[in-house]
Symmetry: C3
């Protein structure tokens, strides 16, 4: 699509070379030749003089030098950019209802209406898949798994026996639902050696409605009962959820965070990247656990904690002042010592 | 199963509504309507007045108000709960010996007696699989891999060429055995550019007997020789084991911990969640590395370390007192300054 | 191969039992019976008296007691070891060009010359695979993905629609390219509840030439435009790269590190294990982020930072002195207090 064509579709006006062919969209900083960008706010004005974008969406009154070869003037550059974004997005695969001939579906499995099942996918005995689901290629769905309506399971997800999920869930590639929880009993033997017994993990994982789970995240089945993720909770990539963890509704767990066995996370909580939550504790509603924070005690509702061990945000900020305070104390003590010496003479 | 039926199987007596249908087991805190729970100890007495469990296993003398609709009195509620747990567990898949028609098995592969191989699994040239193994769906077993007896390989595990494991190992979904270790040589070129050469990774991974490895954990092949995991060592989910790492027997590595290349971990060690072990160091027998600890020096036998960089547990606890001590010092120095000023007048 | 045979191939001379059959190579510390090792430098002399290696490569003048049953004398033991290493390496699988009969290749996909495609691999509509690629078993290649020449994609990798990579890239097992970035909008509803809207992720992932990516690493597609990894950048296992991240050329990201959305990492940077980079910041060329460091501000070119929040290496080292300094201050203040008391009398 040329700059001119884009301008017309956005009801904008071109300044500069309207014949340039646009390949992709990008921010001013990330853009390269062939990209269309946008000036988000005057804060980024300096980037207009360094951008490699071929064209930039700007407001009607914008006037300043730029390295771009063309400008498209529109009333709302942000909105126009959002409008144009899908035109350049990779075509989303159309998954027409139907079961690929290579899928292995157990006879006792119940497949809903308008379901797509991709190549090499395995659906075992007694599994139930709701209407309108898209189950992509190379997925493993174990015995008696129950999947609600309109879920999207990306390639190479595994869901082990007995696990359950609600409607409209999205599971990205490599998600592992229902692996055994980590539970072992070391038994000290009379001869001095240790035997390590496995504690059976007899529960399941239960996901609510509208849960989304990022690539390669792992959620273990409960020791007994259920590991549960509440409605509309969104989990990022490479997150670990231990057995019997209970997460409430509308919470977020960012990449590489981990929650140990039997911990409880409330509603509307945010667990930031690489944070860790100890077992058997509670993070109450609307609380936030900052990046890399290590939580070993209950967190009160609405609190924001940081550090390892985690403390309230303000306390953490104060602790960062310690090196400066110690340096100042050293100087003061040295001065006191000198003045004292004078008096002692 | 009704409350009454459960009570009969456990030789207990029902108090309240015995006709309630029980769906699942859960702790007092996690339970919902239709669940059976148990009073683990008097410590949890308060939960008896808040639980949503329909029925609770309690001792014969327990007497206190509860929100549950029924009680089942038994001599040992913990034991009774453990007895009942399997009755409500998802039916474990029966994997009858046999090779699924869609599995691709190389002619030169040797498959033992009573082995199950699931759909879409690939077993390459010269691989050896011991008697009684269960190799589930969509597994990849590379050339000349040797797997001992009675191992259980869950769906979508990959084991690359030449790797070896003992008997009764359990590998959960998405485990990656034998990926190339991270080894590169940056070569500064005469023209100022850098070329990054790959260092060949010529070794293997060797797992002992009774090793269990959690979902999506990665264990890299050695630069040469072997990366080794000892007998009865249990590894949790999303753990990273670098090339040439040597882990002893009966050790545990908890979720998201990582061990860098050529590090050595002894017998009976515990590496807690999200901890990191630097390359080329030794964690001696029975030592523990606490959650999120970062170990960059050898750890003595039996020691428990915390923090990053890790220090002995007691030293770490003392370091947490620093903010309070600095605040106290500031006050004391201020007081000294005032008293000194009085003397100076 | 016997010790004698190895010595002959290396033009060395045997001392001790030349008939021993060598199975594998290993370092002095890791070796067991049947292994050949080497004395890297005199620093490891003590290990010569403890090694379980059957034979050791040593220099011509080396003279000291050893537990090994045989020595092979060569001018350069390190070089000789490197020469011998491939003789004991697991046979690398030969992937002859050809498409396995079980692979599902869309008609509109374009497969280059001399390409190997393994069993159960899926290549969707419009995908392009360059000459000489090895695409192993059970791989998923989405619609319109473009892969350059001579790439090696290991089993069970997924590459979602529209993503692009250059030549000679290596993707290890379980790598996830092009998952949706983590982007959600919580919408507070009039009735007090929260609805969590998904922000469409309309961009792609673009890998340069000679990129290598470790097992189970995840790289998310851009919100719009591209998440980009530059030429010759090498990424380890279990690393998380968020949407719109831009990594330059010849950089390294070590295991379990994570980079949040829209962060920029320059050329020749090193991000050590378990480090975290916040969103929207820049790590400039040749900078290093130490193990477990948490970076929340731009890092200057060539700087080495440590700690969370990360500070320059020297500053971090100084902060480790704080406990000792506080202890010393406490003593000094106590002494001052005592001397002052004397004067006050």
């Amino acid at each position: 699509m040329t700059v001119q064509e884009i301008a017309e579709r956005l009801n904008g006006t071109v300044e500069g070379d309207g014949t340039i062919e646009i390949q992709a969209l990008a921010s001013l900083q990330e853009a390269r030749a062939g990209d269309l960008s946008f000036l988000h706010s005057d804060k980024y004005a300096r980037q207009m003089q360094e951008t490699k974008a071929s064209a930039v969406l700007v407001s009607e009154q914008w006037a300043s030098p730029t390295t771009a070869k063309a400008l498209i003037r529109v009333p709302d550059p942000n909105g126009a950019f959002a409008t144009a974004a899908p035109w350049f997005a990779p075509q989303e695969p159309v998954r027409k209802p139907g079961i690929h001939s290579t899928a292995v579906i157990a006879e006792s499995a119940k497949i809903g209406a308008d379901v797509y099942i991709g190549p090499w996918t395995v659906v075992e005995d007694g599994a139930v898949i709701g209407d309108g689901c898209v189950i992509e290629a190379q997925v493993f769905i174990g015995q008696h798994v129950r999947i609600g309506k309109a879920c999207h399971i990306y390639p190479q997800v595994t869901i082990r026996e007995g696990c359950v999920m609600g409607d409209r869930c999205i599971l990205h590639c490599g998600v592992r639902i229902g692996g055994d929880g980590y539970g072992f009993n070391p038994v000290f033997q009379p001869d001095g050696t240790i035997r390590v017994d496995k504690i059976p993990q007899l529960g399941i994982v239960e996901l609510g409605n509208d849960v989304e789970i990022g690539s390669n995240t792992t959620i273990d089945r409960a020791r007994f009962g259920r590991t549960r993720i509440g409605n509309s909770t969104k989990i990022d990539n490479l997150v670990q959820i231990g057995h019997n963890v209970q997460v409430g509704d509308c919470s977020g767990l960012i990449a590489q965070s981990g929650v140990a066995g039997s911990a409880r996370i409330g509603n509307g909580c945010l667990i930031w990247a690489q944070a860790g939550i100890s077992g058997h504790i509670t993070v109450h509603d609307m609380a936030q656990v900052g990046p890399m924070a290590g939580v070993s005690k209950d967190i009160a509702s609405g609190e924001y904690v940081l550090g390892a061990p985690a403390v309230p945000k303000r306390e953490f900020a104060k602790s960062l002042m310690i090196p400066r305070e110690v340096a100042r104390l050293k100087e003061e003590v040295k001065a006191l010592r000198e003045e004292l010496a004078k008096l002692q003479k």
